[in-house]
């Protein structure tokens, strides 16, 4: 067994998402993250793809990030296409009345039919991109009106959309969503499964993002790195446990 460092939530707990004004641009600097993603700086308005093969810890990673953002006072919008809102809330261990968490559940409605929306959980079907888009926009408005200006969006995952809809359609949808994230000065993470789509699809999608957090598996070991047009980090080995991602020291 490799020696393990703290789990990701502990690591991210040490992180401070400080807001610095650099040339009038707010930049979120993820500090102390050198163990996982050294020197990764995410500007406000960033759209990040989280890309890798199945079972390499992508979902766990974004959930940890999401939880951490919420703890830091961010408003969080989580779009689910594979798990129900109930499952996520359980995992997050967050009270349903938490006003910082908003979920769009694109699973439950297709399974059990009509479900009533609440203030923090909206139900859509995965093919109804207009519905999803309008609900995300509504959540942005809700946060904005309640004074929450820092917002993180998680889309888990784009691959499900691409199972039902053609690339052009998904691209158009993302064009609007990434634009909104940019204009609102938020940060968004979008999961894409490696191995499910052809190269053209991935290349097309990448145009919409500011960077990619990549996961890979080699010889039974899992790795993570961050790539953008400005920077590329080293691969770091990770281990994915039942409810946490662990960095191998």
């Amino acid at each position: 067994m490799p020696e393990l460092s703290n789990d990701l939530s502990n690591i991210t707990h040490q992180l401070t998402f400080t807001l610095n004004v650099i040339y009038d641009v707010y930049v979120i600097i993820i500090m102390n993250m050198s163990q996982v993603l050294p020197d990764v700086q995410l500007k406000k308005g960033s759209n990040i793809m989280v890309y890798g093969p199945a079972f390499t810890g992508k979902s766990m990673f974004v959930r940890s990030i999401f939880r951490e953002f919420i703890r830091k006072g961010y408003g969080g919008i989580y779009v689910l296409t594979r798990d129900s809102a109930e499952t996520l809330m359980e995992w997050l261990d967050i009270d349903y009345s938490n006003k910082y968490v908003k979920i769009i559940d694109c699973v439950t409605k297709s399974m059990v039919g009509n479900v009533k929306d609440s203030d923090s959980i909206k139900y859509e079907t995965v093919m109804d991109l207009t519905g999803i888009s309008a609900k995300i926009s509504k959540f942005f408005e809700d946060f904005w009106r309640s004074g929450v200006r820092d917002i993180v969006v998680i889309f888990d995952s784009l691959s499900t959309l691409l199972m039902y809809m053609n690339l052009q359609t998904v691209f158009r949808f993302l064009h609007i969503l990434t634009g909104r994230v940019k204009v609102a000065g938020s940060v968004a993470f979008y999961i894409v499964e490696d191995g499910m789509h052809d190269e053209r699809t991935i290349a097309t999608l990448k145009q919409l993002f500011n960077g990619v957090i990549e996961f890979k598996e080699e010889n039974g070991k899992k790795y993570i790195r961050f790539v953008s047009s400005f920077t590329q980090t080293e691969w770091r080995e990770i281990v994915v446990e039942e409810n946490r991602v662990v960095v191998v020291v």
């Binding site: 409605k109 297709s110 039919g113 009509n114 009533k116 079907t125 093919m127 109804d128 991109l129 207009t130 519905g131 888009s133 309008a134 609900k135 995300i136 926009s137 509504k138 942005f140 408005e141 946060f143 904005w144 009106r145 039902y164 809809m165 053609n166 052009q168 359609t169 158009r172 949808f173 064009h175 609007i176 909104r180 204009v183 609102a184 000065g185």
Partner: protein, 393 residues
């Protein structure tokens, strides 16, 4: 049978959708605009028209659920049908008489034509058809437009303005006899919603833009954010607010308002918030503050007390520099010495075009005529000129 949109204000403007016409709701991708088509369908369903609703992005059950959320029990109407283009796509059997799999565009074409021939009003989510069936399906959609004209059916289309190629947008726009834009008032996030007439080829009309809210149940409600009710001390402002509101509260001390009256009413498709101001001069700063956010003013005067008119005029001036439209409620008309409206106009030197409505707030007489007069001002040319929200791309 006359077919209408069922949307507040819109029906006053375009009156009806004639046979063989195609009306397209042109929807901002971040706005819940499908409800416009649903509301048009249900309005005409209730009027006895044969209506069909096409669903492609979700199941017929979910579609009916969406109608129900707005209080529209479509499933109880015999003249209602769903065209199910969803079940076939996800590999489920369909319970609907009209169904097709969007993977087979010929089959879809055949079913849609049958529906267009057999129904008075057909709702088609044009952009969703393009999304699912691909951009080539636009040719088929063109056939449906032509077929509807030929068979004198009405198509109510939704077109969500995702960044489609320009030729698709042009094709849809040119083929629609009416285009109603449903958009968002964009800031860094969307903070409000509006709809407006872009084109109607069967009637010569001026463009209009109306703010709206979605109410569940209820649907589209034209939205007038704040109406200020002002006037001199003891003119009857609180009584007026209470007389027209469904629910109202006043904060008062010794029978006079010292803070605010607030009332809310749902009227003719509008959702209206009324704010009554205190009449005493020491509260004038509040008046200015409210004036900044209000969209219209109702000036309540005591028709029996001409000596208060200068004060009324002064209050009007306090809010006038915000450029708000106003109407005058000539109150206490139930009293024997009340001056008639024209007398008040003279004494207050009010222009001819300012509506002065005789009311008795106490008896509730004429109060809704005041609201009518203000709504007319708000949705008329002033609204368009000053409040046309920036059209987003």
């Amino acid at each position: 049978m006359k077919v209408i949109t069922g949307i507040p204000v819109l029906d006053d403007v375009i009156e009806e959708i004639p046979e063989g016409k195609i009306l397209t709701y042109w929807i901002d991708p971040e706005v819940e605009g499908n409800v416009f088509a649903m509301q048009t369908l249900f309005t005409n369903l209730e009027r006895g028209c044969k209506c069909a609703y096409t669903t492609i992005a979700y199941s017929p059950e979910v579609a009916i659920g969406e109608f129900n959320e707005f209080g529209w029990d479509v499933e109880n109407y015999e003249n209602f049908s769903i065209v199910d283009l969803y079940s076939g796509y996800v590999g489920l059997p369909s319970n609907c008489q009209y169904n097709a799999s969007p993977t087979d565009i010929e089959e879809v074409n055949e079913v849609m034509k049958k529906v267009i021939e057999n129904f008075d009003v057909v709702v088609i989510p044009v952009s969703s058809v393009i999304d699912v069936c691909g951009e080539d399906s636009i040719e088929c959609i063109g056939e449906w437009y032509d077929f509807a004209r030929e068979k004198e059916s009405r198509l109510i289309c939704t077109f969500v303005s995702w960044p489609y190629p320009e030729e698709i947008e042009k094709f849809v726009k040119n083929n629609s006899n009416a285009v109603i834009r449903v958009g968002g008032v964009h800031h860094r996030v969307i903070l409000g919603y509006y709809y407006g007439v872009v084109k109607v080829d069967w009637k010569n009309i001026k463009s209009k833009a109306i703010l709206f809210k979605l109410v569940k149940p209820g649907g589209v409600r034209a939205y007038i954010p704040k109406i200020l009710v002002t006037g001199p001390y003891n003119a009857g402002k609180s009584t007026f607010v209470h007389a027209v509101s469904m629910r109202a509260i006043s904060v008062d001390r010794l029978g006079t308002t010292v803070a605010l009256d607030h009332g809310h009413l749902e009227y003719k498709g509008f959702s209206i918030d009324l704010f009554g101001t205190p009449g005493q001069e020491r509260f004038d700063p509040i008046l200015k503050m409210l004036g900044r956010e209000a969209l219209g003013v109702i000036l309540v005067v005591d028709s029996t007390k001409p000596e208060t008119f200068p004060r009324a005029k002064q209050m009007l001036e306090a809010v006038a520099h915000f450029g708000l439209p106003y109407v005058v409620a000539a109150n206490k008309q139930d009293l024997p010495d009340a001056l008639p409206p024209e007398e008040i106009r003279k004494k207050m030197f009010l222009p001819e075009d300012v509506p002065i409505i005789p009311v008795s707030a106490k008896e509730g007489d004429g109060v809704y005529k005041v609201i009518d007069a203000l709504l007319e001002l708000l949705t008329g040319s002033w609204w368009v000129k000053e409040n046309e929200p920036e059209v987003s791309t």
